[in-house]
Amino acid sequence: MAKVLMKGNEAIGAAAINAGCRYFFGYPITPQNELPEYMSRELPKVGGVFVQAESEVAAINMVYGAAGSGVRVMTSSSSPGIALKQEGISYIAGAELPAVIVNIVRGGPGLGSIQPSQSDYNQSTRGGGDGDYHLLVYAPANIQEMVDLLQDAFDKADYYRNPVMVMGDGMIGQMMEPVEFKERPEVDLPAKDWAATGTEGKRAPNVINSLFLKPEELEDHNIRLTEKYDIMKNNEQRWETYNMEKPEIICVAYGTTARIVKSAIDTLKGEGIEIGLIRPITVWPFPEKAFVELPESAKMFLSVEMSMGQMIDDIKIVNQGRLPVEFYGRSGGMIPSPDGVVGKIRALLGGAK
């Protein structure tokens, strides 16, 4: 299929429908409004249902209900709206249901701003809701990758029976890029024999629930969930590396920030300064496998973020004390510039301050 030019938010909608999503429940918030707008227009054309709920809390609980019946369902919001959905997300994880949650991140804390940010790193990787659970979290860096990961998100959600988050900063939602919707092979997924679809009197009812009244049962449930998360940690790490042959500094950046860093790396390469990049594509699980073997030339890590250093902890965990971890970031809706990153790297290398 030929490439079309799409705004990120529209492309997410188109990719979700392509992936078989037929149910969307949401509540408007900038900078992701084009997505529910797209779904409200397009879902009825394919026999789907769009509901603008009365709140984010209502929307995520509608997702919970729909997911319990085994259909492909999605919701989307932006940072403070995702914060409101955390209770429902925890319930969905607890009840082991597949659902896709899109977060187009804006500046925080609180109402913050409508400008792009990456300050929901902790919210999405640490579990904003209660209990021992995790989300698989994808952080695409461009719209094509966003489209491709959306399909994966639905497949992985079904495979693991766990909510999957796709997290893009506001820029990814608002920017335009050429995209192609590729034909993909069908993924072999287990039958949804757990779904609450009516027994017709032929079997015992399936129960969708996250409440366990006996402590030993809840502990068993948590042990089972943790085993599942360990499998996800082992099998689902994704990352990209860039210019990692003999870097003096290894930058770590995800989403659009990684593109800004690449631009800075190219500039410095022109001057004979070698800087590398590890770009997490999954931020949970964090791609620790990318950090096992490090080039001997590397003197330090530099975390570059559109937040105040939320990813530093994860880098320190996988670094295991080998190299210093430095930080450069902008926040509040300010976007790091390639020149800003170059300046920070020069300062770290002892050049012009």
Binding site: K3, V4, L5, M6, K7, E10, T30, P31, E34, S113, I114, Q115, P116, G170, M171, Q174, M175, M176, E177, P178, R259, I260, K262, S263, G333, S337, P338
Partner: protein, 230 residues
């Protein structure tokens, strides 16, 4: 005629409309810069009350440095709240016969609604309303899609579209074929609507390759709204 002089045939008030993401803002910014280079007194009014990002006001400092007056929200250029707070200053250049005015309007008929507010100011003056078309956008891929958008925008603004702009692109992936294939579709829409194609706007590298004899003045543009890393 030198490149750009065709712009002098356009009427003093240029209203730039089109589908979301058609490239209205990039065209408006390039157009304003060219007029300013020719020594005109230019006002660029950002009337986009739909999009929160990638609006011409983001380049206000740069444009003001080139002598262009930029008008946007009454709350300031960098006030990032999606409130339809348009500065009443917009009326000034519209009334000033010495000002060349570019109104950069938000996308679709939704974005064009704001024009109704200024209808009384515009209707008795010389204006051109130019519709920017990118046939790589889903809703304006066909002749029917383009016609629907032109009519919807005319209906809400109560103003007439006087020219089409073939601004079909895939950003840095734009090729000669991208523009030429679109030209055929837009030409058919132009004939059915009885609205001429006024410009073919495209990046310099493609503009150089365009053959002669196409309808519409070739208008090479620079991507000011897109940062180098994008």
């Amino acid at each position: 005629m030198n490149k750009g002089e065709i712009m002098l045939n356009d009427r003093r008030i240029r209203i730039i409309i089109g589908h979301y993401g058609s490239g209205k803002t990039e065209f408006s910014v390039n157009y304003a810069l060219k007029l300013a280079e020719m020594g005109f007194k230019v006002a660029l009014s950002d009337l986009d009350i739909v999009n929160p990002y990638f609006r011409s006001r983001e380049k206000a400092a740069f444009l003001e440095g080139k002598g262009i007056r930029v008008i946007s929200s009454s709350l300031g250029h960098n006030f990032s709240l999606d409130l339809p707070a348009i500065s009443s200053e917009i009326v000034g250049p519209i009334q000033d016969p010495d000002s060349q005015v570019i109104l950069d309007v938000g996308g679709n008929s939704v974005g064009a609604k704001v024009l109704a507010k200024f209808y009384e100011e515009i209707i008795d003056k010389e204006y051109d309303m130019l519709c920017v078309v990118n046939t790589n956008r889903a809703e304006t891929q066909t002749v029917e899609g383009i016609m629907y958008h032109v009519r919807a925008i005319e209906a809400v603004s109560q103003l007439k579209v006087t020219g089409l702009i073939n601004n079909t692109h895939l950003l840095r992936e734009t090729t000669l074929e991208t523009v030429l294939e679109a030209q055929e579709i837009i030409k058919e829409a132009s004939q059915k609507l009885s609205i001429p194609i006024k410009y073919i706007s495209t990046i310099e590298s493609v503009a150089k390759m365009l053959p002669e004899g196409l309808e519409g003045e070739i208008f090479p543009i620079t991507m000011y709204m897109r940062d180098v890393w994008m």
